[in-house]
Symmetry: none
Subunit: 193 residues, 4 copies
């Protein structure tokens, strides 16, 4: 019997390495060799498991999106009531696991990837739709018809904070980011409710 069961291990290592490398260089101009090397294997093996560089990138995207999704779901479990749930979503968006240098850089680059690769666009849209649905779901109970536009505003603010973070030299500050989004939310609820 052969050595077996390496596939998931290798794939995960490659996905992590991809995110690290994209974060490190700040761009998608990362070679498969670099990724493979950081993941501790040959580039040939990386191709063996993923078939192409594009698939590696997409797997990395899925990983990041699922991390984010898990964070949000986890936060919602413990939230009580629409107001609390909305706060939970915003907090999760800037939680330490997602709001890291490399992950932020990866997000930015995935937006670029989505311009070229349809599957990347699809994945990013799923994220956007899910976030929007979550926000609207709770906002509706609080501000009715204005839920839609406020959800758009919140989403824009979240993405905007992310992209601006990519320019800063200092470490990402999730607390401040959360505060800013919460402030916008509070304002809307107080005034329009």
């Amino acid at each position: 019997m052969p050595k077996v069961g390496m596939e998931p291990i290798r794939k995960e290592a490659l996905v992590r390495a991809t995110i690290v490398e994209i974060g490190r260089t700040g761009s998608l101009d990362v070679t498969v060799s670099q990724i493979a090397k950081r993941a501790g294997m040959s580039s040939a093996l990386a191709h063996h498991y993923f078939g192409s560089k594009e698939q590696i990138f997409l797997a990395a995207m899925r990983h990041i999106l699922s991390l984010y999704g898990a964070e949000v779901r986890g936060a919602l479990v413990m939230a009580d009531g629409p107001r609390d749930r909305l706060r939970a979503i915003l907090r999760a968006s800037f939680a330490a696991l997602n709001f890291r240098r490399e992950v932020i850089s990866a997000w930015l680059n995935f937006y670029v990837l989505a311009q070229t690769v349809p599957e990347a666009k699809r994945l990013l849209r799923i994220y956007q739709n899910r976030l929007h649905a979550n926000l609207v779901h709770d906002l509706r109970k609080l501000i009715g018809v204005r839920a839609e536009e406020v959800a758009q505003g919140l989403a824009a603010m979240i993405d905007g904070v992310y992209i601006r973070e990519a320019l800063k030299d200092s470490a990402p500050d999730g607390i401040a980011a959360t505060a800013m989004a919460l402030d916008y939310l509070t304002l809307q609820l107080e005034t329009r409710a």
Copy 2:
């Protein structure tokens, strides 16, 4: 007779072509040949004028940033009072000239470029600082110490709207974008003033 004074003409053609090509492909993976071809000249000439691909990109950035700067300055000239000036800045941000498909795509990609190329980062920071200074200048008169954070929020929202636009299939909607930012501003002024 040698052609004289071609330099600025050639350079501008290349800058325009660069923005178009980045917008078309949605990435910085644009070859100098593509750019040069679209600008109606050989790639050798492009190098002759700019020295390197990086310089071409930077010139394109400067162009876009100066377009934006001009739009804002133009809007401010006709504005009267801090409230009106703030509105003018937001309107200028989503004015038809800046809020075009290609330009939006270029912005997104310049954020990526800034991760790698120091000069690109510097240029983008100048834009951010100027915007921030403009916003704070007028906000301070209206909401005092809270000016800083509201300026951050507005800037994040502007960038967020831009980046999200890159994912949409429909044409950019400057009116809706402006409305969203104005709404945020109004809310802040009404509540915190």
Copy 3:
């Protein structure tokens, strides 16, 4: 219980698969993995049994040559007299078993292989020599000294018909091919005898 006696079974499966794959792609650019997959095993096992890709190809050649040899011998058994024997050889050359798409393509490619691999050249020469000997053996009885050149002509015609078949879209027509060769033979015998 260890599986015993698998070797000949595996080897034959690989040989058949090799011919099929060469026929399918029409070239020697066939990967060991493709061959192994079609033969229902891993490429590692293919190497285990044959040692190298080259050996797999050579085994396939031997197989095809022995198929041809068997066909000819079978035909000769039932032939009576030199004239009849010559006709039998020609008929066997275009018999259904040999004159199939894949086998024809394999022949063509084995001629190419023989340019590079000495053993392949040796095998092909054995085929040529045997055919020549067979033809001359009987021709001598009929046309004496002219046997040599007529044997050359017949052999060339056979190979020519094969190679030209590789270009056709329609299925190989053994009947027509046989008729053409027989016609040449008859002509020689009638005129020169």
Copy 4:
């Protein structure tokens, strides 16, 4: 003004080098680098002029086919009457320019290429059709309805002689080859006319 007019020179050098390399290795497993090196340039330049390896091969085919065509046309110019013309075609087929080691090897490999590359198949078919048309044209005047099958036989013999030449160690013998084909022709004409 730039250095100019190199394209045809480079292209021809590459075509020649391709034929030499295919002849030398006896297969299509020739790298673009090998070809380019022999042609005295970088592989990048080879790609610049031809776009792809496949196009280089096709150009080499066209070259060989046009050489052959020219040889035949040249021979026909001086031929008088159908019998003479047929002899001229056969002689041209084995004339020194075509019946060289490398060219023979190239022919063999082009038959292989035609299995995979449609354009190669098309080119080879053009050659076959032209040869067939030429032969039939003159045969018809001499043997009427039997022209078709005799043309097939002659064509098969020509190709067969070529392919068998690829196996020999000694230098190609155009005289003997021509004699063999002429003999077949003569026989047909004498008997069936």
